[in-house]
């Protein structure tokens, strides 16, 4: 058994390709995603269409401009100009105040501000809209305190052009961990088992006194070890380089990570019982695992925005549940009582995959 694991490490450490995937990818991905996809936006160009031009609107505008996020570049005169300004491409957001703003606020206790974003870049648009809304809320809170007995309401209404109703925060570190564990565990194990089949060494191993379980455990143990190391180096990198918080319990995080690793491994084993050679194993892993993981797990595209069919499909993506788990632990500091459902789903998936693998394996031996 020990010899088996040593042998497996030889395979890993002597193959340049494997080493690059195992250790190069995580670092490159984290740095790439980290630096290329920054959510922080500074000095975004905005325009204002102020129909009211009273004290309140001027105050709000100056408050917005005073923040680091926005730069007022244009004062528009009418609605028609909005679209034209957006088409020029310089302006990221337009803020529209309705006429008689201060008066309405005073009398009706309600006035609206229209925030129009350029959602051809949806993430930026949504973030800017949130910033603006926050600043307005802040201002509102300020007047609530001074004019106590009758609180007034200002209702910001963000509207996204070109892409309605978009949600989603980019949380790349949990996503990368998920993808990487999937890659390393499912793809690498399925390939390495398929390789033994292709080389004919699997036959020899099966004829040897080793039990099939020992062969499988021997094959996957090195990948478990490397995956845990990988996952935590990404966490550390995220923490120290990008300041991604880890608010939850590290022990729980480790437990869930290992759970997901086992899930990915059982998936890899299942693939290897189907695939005859490395090429097929690679194809199944890439097409069947990597793409859905990236696209359907909510890593890049929020699940809530997908058509119902895809939403339903995403439910059978183990990575979706793991991303939920790991995000809750890292960002919300959730304890097990908030994520037991997702954990249970992962456990269920593990047992299904292992069950299927055993069945496939038995069929082959019959």
């Amino acid at each position: 058994m020990r010899g088996f694991i040593i042998k497996e490490f030889y395979h890993i450490f002597r193959d340049v390709r494997t080493m690059i995937i195992l250790f190069g990818m995580p670092v490159v991905q984290v740095l790439l995603f980290g630096f290329a996809l920054t959510n922080e936006i500074k000095d975004a160009n905005i325009a204002v269409l102020d129909h009211s031009k009273d004290i309140v609107t001027t105050e709000i505008i100056s408050k917005i401009v005073a923040s680091d996020y926005f730069k007022l570049t244009e004062n528009l005169e009418n609605e028609a100009q909005i679209e034209a300004e957006f088409r020029k491409g310089k302006i990221k957001q337009v803020i529209v105040f309705e006429d008689n703003f201060a008066q309405k606020l005073e009398k009706d206790r309600n006035a609206s501000i229209h925030i129009i974003g350029d959602a051809s870049d949806p993430n930026t648009a949504s973030i800017l809209a949130n910033y603006t809304a926050a600043i307005i809320k802040d201002y509102q809170a300020g007047i609530l305190i001074t004019q106590a007995p009758f609180p007034m309401m200002i209702t910001p209404e963000p509207a996204m052009l070109f892409n309605q109703e978009l949600k989603g925060v980019f949380m790349f570190v949990p996503g990368i961990i998920t993808i990487l564990l999937m890659l390393v565990c499912a793809m690498m194990t399925s390939i390495s088992i398929a390789r033994e089949k292709e080389l004919g060494t699997m036959e020899v191993l099966l004829v040897s006194p080793l039990k099939p379980v020992q062969i499988i455990v021997g094959k996957v143990t090195p990948y478990i070890v490397l995956s845990v190391i990988n996952a935590f180096s990404i966490l550390l990198l995220g923490y120290f380089v990008f300041g991604v918080p880890i608010r939850g319990n590290i022990g729980l995080l480790l437990f869930e990570t290992i759970l997901f690793i086992v899930m990915a491994l059982s998936m890899g084993i299942l693939i290897s019982t189907i695939a005859r050679n490395q090429q097929i194993a690679l194809m199944i892993s890439l097409a069947g695992l990597m793409l859905p993981t990236i696209l359907l797990s909510g890593f890049i595209f929020p699940v809530e925005n997908m058509p119902i069919v895809l939403q339903w499909l995403s439910n059978i993506m183990p990575s979706k549940w793991f991303i939920i788990i790991i995000r809750s632990i890292m960002l919300k500091g959730s304890e097990i009582n908030y994520i037991w459902k997702e954990t249970l789903i992962l456990l269920l998936m593990i047992s299904i995959f292992i069950g299927l693998s055993i069945r496939n394996f038995k069929v082959r031996l019959e």
Partner: protein, 254 residues
């Protein structure tokens, strides 16, 4: 029932896959220290029979005994007492000669000292001692094949199963490989092999020829040639195969 002289005894072995009968009532014995050739066209049922003898598959019925152990209940013991070499040589290309020895010795439960000792003996026999630390992938095919055979015998098994061990190897290497087989047999190891090359069948002490799931002929090469009145095993094989075709034709016309 088992004779001391019979290291493999197979009686009425039947293996069915659904309605397909892969092995139809095989009965044969292999003597200790014998070189036994197991011949037959592709799909004749050779591989199925070997897998059953190696303890990988369970037979549908029949009583089979390998190295003194029952294939139904004692597969673990059978596995410890046999060596196996597939046509693909089954060594790890990215590991050195010594590492391959260590690994395979390890899975057969040999102690480190024992492995070193066996590796020394076996490599010396091959004259490849100085290549101990070379990666297998960098060695010529013929060497790999010899090393694979040595490694299949690292745990000194009673029987070695060789599944088309010489496919894709040049004639000189094949000749040298046969020298190794003879030597192993001489030392008391039983050699059970399948091959496509009919000239190799001549080297076996006894051969069985399988056609469509059953054994058509089983004897020494000399006796078979006499029985069919031909000069080579190639012709014996062709005659048996042709006879089968004639029978099938008759079935069609009747």
């Amino acid at each position: 029932m088992t004779n001391d002289q019979h290291i493999i005894s197979v009686e009425n072995l039947v293996k069915k896959f659904g309605s397909f009968v892969a092995n139809d009532n095989l009965t044969f014995f292999v003597k200790k220290g014998e070189i036994f050739g197991f011949l037959g066209a592709n799909g004749a049922g050779k591989t199925t029979a070997i897998k059953i003898l190696c303890g990988l598959w369970k037979p549908t019925s029949g009583s089979i005994n390998v190295a003194g152990f029952d294939v139904y209940k004692q597969t673990e013991k059978i596995k410890k007492n046999i060596g196996y070499m597939s046509q693909k040589f089954s060594l790890y290309d990215d590991m050195t000669v010594a590492e391959n020895f260590t690994f395979y010795g390890g899975i057969y439960g040999l102690k480190t000292i024992k492995i070193k000792e066996r590796m020394h003996v076996l490599l010396k026999k091959l004259g490849l001692e100085e290549y101990k630390d070379r990666v297998i992938g960098s060695l010529p095919l013929g060497w790999k094949q010899k090393l694979a055979f040595s490694i299949a015998t690292i745990h000194e098994p009673a029987i070695v199963f060789l599944d088309e061990p010489t496919s894709g190897v040049d004639p000189v290497t094949r000749r040298q490989f046969w020298d190794m087989i003879y030597e192993a047999a001489h030392e008391g190891t039983t050699v059970f092999l399948t091959t496509h090359y009919m000239d190799e069948a001549e080297y076996c002490e006894r051969v069985s020829i399988m056609v469509d799931g059953h054994i058509e002929a089983l004897d020494t090469p000399a006796a078979l040639k006499e029985q069919f009145g031909v000069g080579t095993m190639e012709e014996v094989f062709l005659k048996i195969a042709r006879k089968e075709v004639v029978i099938q034709d008759n079935n069609v016309t009747v």
